[in-house]
């Protein structure tokens, strides 16, 4: 039984897909009598099955060597594409995280989307989402991971576009798909190249290949850059970062998934690709730069947002930026830990956002206030989520960052600065949001807000508990730095200032957040510099204009030129030939005069010409 459950791990992603297929009768409209609820229950059931199956398998992987399952798929000419799956602690742990958050998110959706007419479609898409994510968690092949990442792109498009009648949703869905697609296509180019050069596409094969091969530096660099392009799009990193912000137009339960595990999927693949990336130092540098720019930039963007979901989504980009930096610095374990702790805390924060939105029907935080007494569970959950995300109290992210700053390596000063900055900004932002939403006088839209109904409260409270449990889990899995670890022997024990600095930065952020003047109304600062900065951050550094002036402009112009060329030059030429032929025929018509002399003359001239031609030829 135990072995069976372990061996059949590969089936877990299929639960989600089966759930998705089972919703079809409702979403297509074949079954209308029952309402869409049964579809939701099917999906929940499937996710519970996936979670339970995964949990049992996860427990059994304990102290076991990683196993590889190979499912043959396609073998043609010199191309062999099996689907490899690795059953290891990390992989199954990631899958547990995915199915767990998916389960809570779907339960949450039961309350959040209670009155939505297309509940069945939503659950179908969530099942699809979950299946793809779970697949990425256990996949051991770049090819399979790529396929699943693309499925994520597709389902993100459909989930963001869930309320497709709203104008903002239309552009958001389009941008989400196209931005990710840019990254994906470049990644696909990388995969095609890797598959042509290398021996196989499993991550372990790539690793051994990367250590043995010598590529020209330019090729290696291009390959490395192509491989990081995909995750850059998926994780909403600069310059492919804006989609995540826009994607907040979608339904909240999907945002819970998207901001916690979906963005993490890209980083997860990146972490697995890390051995292949070491081929190219440039790619690793680029990774660090992209991550650092995004971390700093998104932190700044977050503090100027007034949409509750957008304040949180920019912070997602920032934390994923840190993960990118960690991978670029080859601190892979830190990257994994950050992903885990961030995912749990961010999922909780998004649940509270969902709960607030559903009871106040409002996303603008400047119109909120005084919710603490009306929504105590939500308030608590928000505080817990904040504590989990900011390195101040010894909850999740604190331990991940502490491992980073107190690891076995020398911490470069700039990295420490970025880390402290992101932490402080994150604390400031969340404190600001907390003050605006929960403290202060209740306003019109928050005066009669009730606490969230139980389908939303239960997952929220459960996840709060999980956030508290994260440090224990980390300890259980021996991911924490032991106090007697190698760094203790490094002689740097006396000068450990990084950890206090980390806490201090968090504290500073909270203090700043408490002290700044948050006027209730949307008042613009009078000083020109401040006003400029506020606009700069609030409009995401005008990156959308950058897109519009570069990529969008280029494609649009080329398309217009091509279209013009097609219409007037290519087709014009064809039509010209046609008209010339007709016109020639019409004109020749008038040479028919009926005079035999004229005919004779024509014949003689013609024969003469032919004769000359033949003479010339010979």
């Amino acid at each position: 039984m135990r072995d069976f459950l372990l061996e059949s791990c590969w089936f877990i992603p299929l639960y989600g897909l089966i759930g998705a297929v089972l919703t079809l009768p409702w979403s297509v409209g074949i079954v209308t009598k029952t309402g869409p609820r049964p579809a939701a229950y099917f999906n929940l059931l499937m996710t519970v099955l996936a979670f339970v199956h995964g949990s049992i398998a996860f427990i059994h992987t304990w102290n076991q060597e990683p196993q590889q399952l190979i499912l043959p798929w396609l073998q043609v000419a010199d191309l062999n594409l099996p689907l490899e799956i690795e059953i290891s602690q990390v992989n199954l742990g990631a899958m547990e995280l995915v199915t767990g958050i998916s389960l809570l998110g779907q339960l949450f959706a039961l309350g959040y989307l209670e009155k939505d007419w297309s509940l069945a479609r939503f659950y179908g898409l969530m099942g699809f989402f979950e299946g793809a994510l779970a697949g990425i968690a256990i996949s051991d092949s770049l090819f399979l991971s790529y396929g699943l990442l693309e499925m994520l792109t597709l389902s993100t498009y459909l989930l963001v576009g869930f309320w497709y009648a709203q104008p903002l949703v239309v552009t958001a869905a389009r941008d989400a798909f196209l931005t990710k697609r840019v990254g994906d296509i470049i990644l696909l180019m990388g995969i095609v190249a890797l598959s042509s050069y290398g021996e196989g596409l499993t991550f372990s094969q790539l690793e051994s290949w990367a250590t043995s091969v010598t590529l020209p530096p330019v090729t290696a660099t291009l390959l490395g850059l192509a491989l990081i392009a995909g995750p850059t799009g998926k994780c909403a990193q600069f310059p492919l970062n804006l989609w995540l912000d826009e994607a907040m137009e979608g339904p909240n339960p999907a945002s819970i998934m998207r901001n916690s595990v979906v963005v993490a999927a890209g980083a997860y693949v990146l972490i697995k690709l890390h051995p292949a990336l070491t081929l190219s130092p440039v790619a690793l540098h680029v990774l660090v730069i992209i991550g650092a720019v995004t971390a700093v930039g998104s932190s700044l963007m977050a503090i100027a947002q007034i949409d509750i979901k957008r304040t949180l989504s920019h912070s997602t980009s920032a934390y994923l930026g840190l993960v990118f930096v960690a991978v670029g610095q080859s601190h892979v374990d830190v990257a994994l830990m950050l992903l885990l702790t961030h995912a749990v805390a961010k999922a909780l924060l998004f649940m509270t956002a969902g709960s607030i939105i559903s009871t106040t029907q409002n996303q603008n935080i400047t119109e909120m206030g005084g919710l603490w007494s009306r929504m105590p569970a939500t308030t608590t959950a928000f505080l817990v989520g904040t504590a989990g995300l900011v390195s101040l109290l010894p909850l999740g992210t604190f331990w991940a960052m502490r491992r980073w700053v107190n690891g076995f390596w020398e911490m470069p000063w700039w990295l420490l600065t970025i880390l402290l900055f992101v932490n402080a900004m994150s604390a400031l932002n969340l404190t600001r949001v907390f003050r605006l939403v929960f403290l202060g006088e209740p306003q019109q839209k928050t005066r009669r807000a009730p606490e969230a109904p139980w389908p939303m409260a239960v997952p929220m409270v459960s996840l709060s508990v999980v956030v508290f449990l994260v440090p224990l889990m980390l300890q259980q899995w021996q991911l924490l730095l032991s106090w007697t670890g190698p760094w203790a022997a490094s002689g740097r024990l006396g000068i450990q200032i990084e950890t206090p600095l980390l806490v201090l930065s968090g504290f500073l952020g909270v203090v700043l957040g408490l002290s700044i003047d948050l006027s209730r109304r949307w008042v613009r600062p009078a000083a020109k510099v401040l006003r400029f900065l506020q606009d700069l951050f609030a409009y995401d550094f005008y990156i959308d204009r950058l897109y519009r002036l570069t990529v969008v402009w280029a494609v649009d112009t080329f398309a217009k030129i091509t279209s013009w060329f097609d219409r007037y030059v290519v087709d014009g030429l064809v039509n010209l030939v046609g008209i010339a032929a007709i016109f020639g025929g019409q004109a020749l018509k008038y040479s028919v005069s009926g005079q035999s002399q004229a005919y004779l003359l024509t014949i003689i001239i013609g024969i003469g010409l032919l004769f000359l031609l033949m003479m010339g030829w010979q």
Partner: protein, 513 residues
């Protein structure tokens, strides 16, 4: 067995056209449908008879015809033509099923459809150059009438343009074929004997250029493509499905069978140019598609872009790329068929295909939600999202071509990225947003409107999940075409890259000169 496939449609056409007495449109439709479904079943029987591990033609039939000039009725099937013939049967059924129930002049209409089936099947099965040419030309006439009689407003212009272009294509095919026979001094138009013939390189290049232009018009490649958008826009939906799904494949099939098969040395010389041509054509089609306003034109230009990938695969001529090219033909046939069907439904129900006029058609109550969902599926399949047949075909294709022509392959991949752009823009405009007032009271969509699209969508997904069912037929035969191409290495025209790609079996199986 094969002759049944060729001649039954002709007999069917005769029956439909001249059956005595009054017969209603619905009855004619049923009769035609029965004939084509029968053919599809027959086709499946052939698939079961077919052994993918054998070299050369199977189920061959040979009847002497005009022996004085070496022209014989000679048909056979191999792993390259088998998928094409099946695709043809399937899409003919789909086209007839999705034809208007109360169409004008039903006798002529259904007879012409059957005639097309006759011509196309013959083209894919002919093993004699002259026979191929006859069938290739024969399919023009019914198609001309189908566009010119049942087409849209500018049908006369479009049909004439189509006829002139493809007639030119036919002339060039004939000229090249005559040239091959003339210069090789062969006593027959049979395909296999001509493959053995050795021609000087210069002659080969001239003859191949003729074929390239000829099939380049048919497929079509830039700059010979302008007949296609016009023809598609004016043709009715079933005809568009056939045109994009099957008729364009005659060009690529001809190019593979005769271009690569008869002129391997010249092919290697021209290959870099062909790959560049493919990249230009792919990008051109994709860019042109972005700024189209008519949904049918978007799909038509997308066809141009996707067919260009096949030329890239031919140019690379690695074992993988050739298998992939056959897959891409089938995949494009299914996907473009699906897209044209859906655009047809949208056009029929709303009365317009202009992307600026349509909006919000996903509306669940008054819009076309299922058609919209299928459209998203079709667009995603065309854009190469995994899980559908478009992805795996294109992945194999790019993977097979990359070692030989890396730059051109990457450019083509940019083209596939642009696919997402134009289809997404179209879907966003037409299906997302608030339903526009113009299309508020739409006629009902019946399941009979959806059924063919659903069937094609299922095929797209199934082959995407299980590509083995598609790949296994052609691998052996495309490899033997490769052997023909490799023959040139013995002569001394060694292509550096291909040499490194040489498989061990090349030594044992090379045709002896």
């Amino acid at each position: 067995m094969l002759s049944v496939l060729i001649w039954v449609p002709l007999i069917g056409a005769a029956i439909v056209a001249w059956w005595p007495g009054e017969i209603s449109s619905l009855h004619l439709r049923r009769v035609t449908l029965a004939i084509t479904v029968g053919l599809l079943v027959w086709n499946i029987a052939i698939v079961t008879q077919f052994n993918p591990d054998l070299d050369g033609m199977q189920l061959s039939e040979y009847v002497p015809w005009i022996e004085q000039i070496g022209f014989n009725y000679q048909v056979g099937i191999d792993g390259i033509s088998l998928p094409m013939v099946c695709l043809n049967s399937l899409l003919t059924v789909v086209a007839i099923y999705s034809s208007d129930r109360h169409i004008d002049r039903p006798r002529l209409y259904y007879a012409l459809l059957l005639l097309i089936n006759f011509g196309v099947t013959g083209t894919f099965l002919a093993q004699d150059l002259l026979l191929f040419f006859l069938f290739y030309e024969l399919e023009l006439i019914p198609l001309y009438f189908l566009i010119a009689i049942w087409g849209g407003e500018r049908r006369a212009y479009a049909a004439t343009k189509f006829l002139l272009y493809t007639a030119l294509s036919g002339i060039l095919v004939l000229a090249s074929f005559l040239g091959v026979v003339w210069f090789s001094g062969a006593a027959t138009f049979g395909y296999e004997p001509l493959r053995e013939a050795v021609l000087p390189l210069g002659t080969q290049i001239i003859l191949l250029s003729g074929l390239l232009v000829a099939f380049g018009i048919k497929i079509p490649f830039f700059p010979f493509h302008t007949w296609l958008p016009d023809a598609h826009v004016e043709a009715s939906t079933p005809i568009s499905v056939l045109l994009a799904g099957v008729l364009l494949k005659m060009g690529t099939y001809g190019l593979l069978r005769f271009g690569l098969g008869l002129f391997p040395e010249a092919w290697q010389v021209l290959a870099p140019w062909l790959a560049t041509w493919a990249a230009v054509s792919a990008l051109y089609g994709a860019l042109a598609a972005i700024s189209q306003k008519d949904m049918k034109k978007v799909v038509a230009y997308s066809s141009i872009a996707h067919m260009a990938f096949i030329l890239l695969a031919f140019a690379a001529a690695t074992p993988l790329s050739l298998v992939a090219s056959v897959c891409q033909m089938v995949s494009h046939g299914l996907i473009s068929g699906l897209l044209f069907l859906l655009v047809g439904v949208v056009g029929k129900k709303t009365g317009t295909r202009d992307v600026d006029q349509l909006r919000g058609l996903l509306n669940p109550e008054r819009g076309l939600p299922l058609i919209g969902s299928l459209m998203i599926l079709g667009a995603m399949a065309s854009a190469g999202i995994p899980g559908m047949v478009g992805f795996i075909a294109e992945f194999m294709l790019f993977r097979g071509s990359f070692p030989v022509f890396p730059v051109q392959t990457l450019l083509c991949m940019v083209g596939t990225g642009l696919t997402a752009v134009y289809f997404l823009l179209m879907i966003n405009k037409v299906f997302f947003g608030r339903l526009s007032e113009r299309v508020e009271n739409l006629p009902r969509v019946y399941w009979s409107d959806r059924l063919p699209a659903v069937a094609l969508a299922i095929a797209v997904v199934i082959f995407g999940l299980q590509p083995n069912w598609l790949v296994r037929w052609s691998e052996h035969n495309t490899n033997s075409l490769m052997l023909g191409a490799r023959r040139s290495q013995n002569i001394g025209l060694v292509n550096q890259v291909n040499q490194t790609m040489t498989l061990p079996m090349a030594n044992s199986g090379v045709i002896d000169n």
